[in-house]
Symmetry: C2
Subunit: 140 residues, 2 copies
């Protein structure tokens, strides 16, 4: 059966560059596969969403709640100094929110991390460990 055009899909580049962690009420949470920074990506599970205003007001409020939870999860998981939170969409248009742990002296500090070449993928063992830990923080 063909999908309806209004079915939610993850952009192929987002899918290739990150690993599924869990589903929250609004967003799919993914781990960016680059061990240089502790980096989550939230993808609202709504079809055809590009700008924040393509979400309903209720979904916008829920997104803020899930951003806050993801900030807490990143801080608890890897104890960075702080998070950088952003949605840009210049390359991948589908709305996705970056929640990135930063510490003084990390790669690119104090600049932003997008576009810094040569990602360092996690090992399979590290992925299992991190995803298990993140699920505990995010959905208990």
């Amino acid at each position: 059966m063909l999908d309806s055009p209004m079915t939610f899909h993850i952009d192929p580049q987002l899918e290739r560059d990150s690993i599924w962690v869990c589903d929250l009420s609004l967003c799919q949470v993914r781990l960016r596969n680059d061990s240089r920074w502790p980096w989550l990506i939230l993808v609202p599970k709504r079809p055809e969403v590009v700008d924040i205003t393509d979400l309903s007001e209720a979904d916008g409020a829920q997104l803020m709640a899930e951003i806050r939870s993801s900030h807490h999860a990143v801080m608890a998981w890897r104890h960075p100094l702080k998070t950088n939170i952003a949605w840009l969409g210049n390359v991948v248009r589908q709305l996705h929110i970056h929640v990135i742990g930063r510490r003084e002296g990390d790669t690119g500090w104090p600049g932003p991390v997008w576009g810094i070449a040569n990602p360092v993928p996690y090992t399979n063992t590290a992925i299992d460990t991190h995803v298990t830990c993140l699920r505990d923080w995010l959905i208990g």
Copy 2:
């Protein structure tokens, strides 16, 4: 009289690099004084706020509403392709949210804009025009 330590203040660097536009319910809205991109900065008028989770849940929901309004204002004011929305805080710790209009081929496209040297300040006449226009969009 000395201010209470819990009085809201704008960080001096934020104040120097941007121009007051208007006050919304939660945030002060400022125009970044760099004409290369249409760029608003929202500063929640709460003392001692660094992370998004330093805001109450109600303030977080209000912030999302004001981000949406600011996105609409930037789109109506300068008709960019889209906005980039982010809070980083790596240099200036006080929580402030960037709402930046982007178009294909602008300075830095498709990368992020933070840290690109040599800002191009607006003329005084342009500031008056833009601030008036933005106030119309933001507070009617």
